[in-house]
């Protein structure tokens, strides 16, 4: 049993199943991120943990105590909302104090905790202001302060950074991570932003269509996506996915692909991969950073293979240049070093690091290897 156990939990509104049977066990101190596109069930699951929505079947337990039917206020949780949900008529101090007040904590204790949390978040000078007088980042801090001061078993974050502008979002992300490392609290965090998921979490649950598609560490999710959805959703730019056929070239399995100019190319798999699959149609997945210019390829890899391909578009992005070609009718993006001289319309050697390649079944979309 973990610290927070989600055990065969489901959620249905009438006939509509919004969350299929889900099992997640979170250890104390873990940072679990639920990530997925909107409507995937992640917020529903979070609300079920919070007690804001009922569990249709199954059970959610915190510290081995079943939470089914327990009021949100009695679960010893705290939540940070997307809109921050600061009470507009109360001061910052009032906002932070309100939950403790409701739980009957004595005034002296409240004052002490407020000043500790305000110190921690550097919002002491804002305590007497109203939420309307704060900037987005300040509101964000107050919302976190309101959660922290409760000293809950579990923190729930519902897309807390999505209302901030890009720069502030990155800063706050770092700050949340620092806070987690410092306090060692257990966090469940919902976001649709896969970068947030990868940077913050100790584990990620990728959700889609009411199912947990994959549950794992950021590295597992990124390197070994369980299916094409996870492969496409996690990582930016997203993983290249294109059709290929497994053939045998000199006894070694290789992917036969069709290039934009109609020519076929053979890319051998890394050794030991895809044996015994000859003749099988697959979807090959390979991340942009595993398709590079020749000199940018990973020197430690034994399976770099060069393919000359026509360049369609180049997108200089400062630190790198993204170079786009086509395989099997799909755009394929490679990540080249910025100073490589490559232009649209020319043929150019692309270096495929096949150690990083994964293969999916075109029908089931599950990973084969």
């Amino acid at each position: 049993m973990g610290f927070l156990d989600i055990n065969k939990a489901t959620k249905a509104y009438g006939a509509v199943q919004v969350l299929h049977e889900t099992n997640i066990s979170v250890e104390e101190g873990e940072f679990l991120v639920l990530v997925g596109p909107s409507g995937c069930g992640k917020s529903t699951l979070l609300n079920m943990i919070a007690g804001l929505e009922d569990i249709t079947t199954g059970e959610i337990a915190i510290r081995d105590r079943s939470m089914n039917g327990v009021k949100p206020a009695d679960r010893n949780i705290a939540m940070v909302f997307q809109s921050y949900a600061l009470y507009p008529n109360m001061t910052v101090k009032g906002n932070i104090s309100f939950g403790m007040e409701m739980h009957g904590i004595a005034k002296a204790e409240r004052e002490k905790r407020i000043s500790q949390v305000a110190d921690l978040l550097q919002i002491t000078h804002l305590l007497d202001r109203k939420p309307g007088q704060l900037s987005g980042g300040q509101r964000q801090r107050v919302a976190m302060g309101r959660a922290l001061v409760r000293e809950p078993d579990v923190f729930l974050f519902d897309e807390p950074l999505s209302n901030l502008d890009a720069k502030l979002r990155v800063d706050m992300r770092t700050e949340i991570k620092k806070l987690h490392q410092k306090l060692g609290t257990t966090i469940v965090y919902v976001t649709h932003d896969q970068i947030e998921a990868l940077t913050l979490s100790t584990r990620i649950a990728v959700m889609f269509g009411g199912y947990v598609q994959q549950l794992g560490t950021p590295k597992e999710i990124y390197d070994n996506p369980a299916n094409m959805f996870v492969a496409g959703f996690m990582g930016s730019p997203s993983m290249n996915l294109f059709p290929a056929k497994v053939v045998s070239a000199n006894g070694v399995p290789a992917a036969e692909v069709r290039l934009a100019d109609g020519n076929a190319a053979m890319i051998p798999f890394a050794s030991g991969r895809m044996n015994g699959n000859d003749g099988r149609d697959i979807i090959l997945g390979i991340r942009p950073e595993a398709i590079t210019d020749r000199d940018g390829a990973d020197r430690n890899s034994d399976a770099v293979h060069i393919v000359d391909m026509p360049v369609e578009v180049t997108e200089p992005a400062g630190s790198d240049t993204f170079v786009v070609s086509q395989i099997g009718g799909k755009d394929v993006t490679g990540r080249f070093r910025a100073d490589v001289a490559v232009n649209a319309g020319q043929r150019f050697p692309f270096a495929f690091n096949m150690e990083k390649a994964v293969a999916f079944d075109p029908q089931s979309e599950q990973r084969i290897a």
Partner: protein, 300 residues
């Protein structure tokens, strides 16, 4: 917090707390169920009975309705309602639209003028009725005043004229409500995208064409709302008639609302009165229900 392993069985206090929202709503539900829908059912039932001075429960089928449509006074009331309703709605909308457009031309002191146009809406129809009753009275009002100014042949005796009295009701009602219609249209005008107006100007539209082709067609929702509000006010019109003409001269300005009241409470024909109320309800429902339906569905 006590941590018991089985926290699933809610106690009485918890159940009470869960039921609290519904408990709070229940007086309203009861009130609406009894005093709106229960009463509608009751009056509907009475309209099929032989009730006279008091409700009685002898079933007479459609007889009250048949009688109702044979009564000349009802006929007059319905005709009056048609004349009054059509004129009232058309004049209010036309005047309201005109005023709204005039006020939309970057007028100095717009707020002040708007306040003047709209204040009659704050008055009781009884006050409006009294003011117009004496103002239109030929003996002391407009006619007497104009004659006093030397136009000896001037006559304006509509309010005492059975053929024209209904129009005095229109005049007073329009005076009271047109400012409100103006406000509705003005809000509609202000809701129109200003970039679209700029685009039309660049396209070379004159002010007149701008309003006729671009602006007024976009006021459809405001027209709809105005129509529904005015139609339902027209059908319910009672106070104004009582104060202005008392339904007279004779029965010249009776409306269904005054007819219902007099048949039920002074002529002791409760069954017929109930039948006339049912017909009023049906007419209003025919206008309101589709409107509410579409409004509430849009909200979803």
């Amino acid at each position: 917090m006590p941590s018991s392993a089985t926290a699933t069985r809610p106690g009485l206090a918890d159940r009470l707390r869960d039921a609290l929202p519904k408990l709070v709503l229940s007086p309203t539900v009861a009130i609406v169920a009894i005093f709106v829908y229960g009463f509608i059912a009751f009056t509907l039932y009475l309209s099929f009975t032989d009730s006279r001075i008091l409700p009685t429960f002898g079933w007479v089928g459609w007889q009250n309705y048949e009688n109702l449509f044979r009564i000349r006074a009802w006929d007059t009331a319905v005709n009056n309602l048609i004349v009054f309703g059509v004129l009232y709605i058309v004049v209010c909308c036309a005047l309201g639209l005109l005023l709204a457009i005039l006020l939309d031309q970057r007028i100095r002191a717009e707020g002040f003028i708007r306040t003047i146009y709209l204040y009659p809406m704050a008055l009781s129809f009884i006050v409006t009725g009294v003011a117009w009753k004496w103002f239109l009275d030929p003996g002391i009002g407009l006619e007497a005043v104009v004659r006093g100014w030397g136009f000896e042949s001037f006559t304006f005796g509509w309010i005492k004229d059975s053929d024209m009295a209904i129009y005095t009701i229109v005049i007073a009602a329009v005076w009271q409500t047109s400012g409100f219609v103006m406000a509705m249209f003005l809000a509609g005008l202000r809701g129109i995208d200003s970039e679209m107006m700029k685009a039309a100007q660049i396209d070379g539209a004159s002010t007149f064409a701008l309003y006729r082709r671009i602006v007024i067609p976009q006021l459809r929702p405001a027209f709809m709302s105005a129509f529904v509000v005015l139609a339902h006010m027209a059908i319910k019109s009672y106070d104004l008639v009582i104060a202005l003409t008392g339904g007279g001269p004779g029965t010249a300005t009776e409306l269904p609302a005054t007819f219902m009241y007099s048949y039920t409470f002074t002529r002791n024909q409760m069954g017929i009165g109930a039948a006339s109320a049912v017909i009023m309800l049906m007419t209003i429902a025919a206008i309101i229900v589709p409107y509410l339906w579409s409004e509430l569905r849009e909200k979803k």
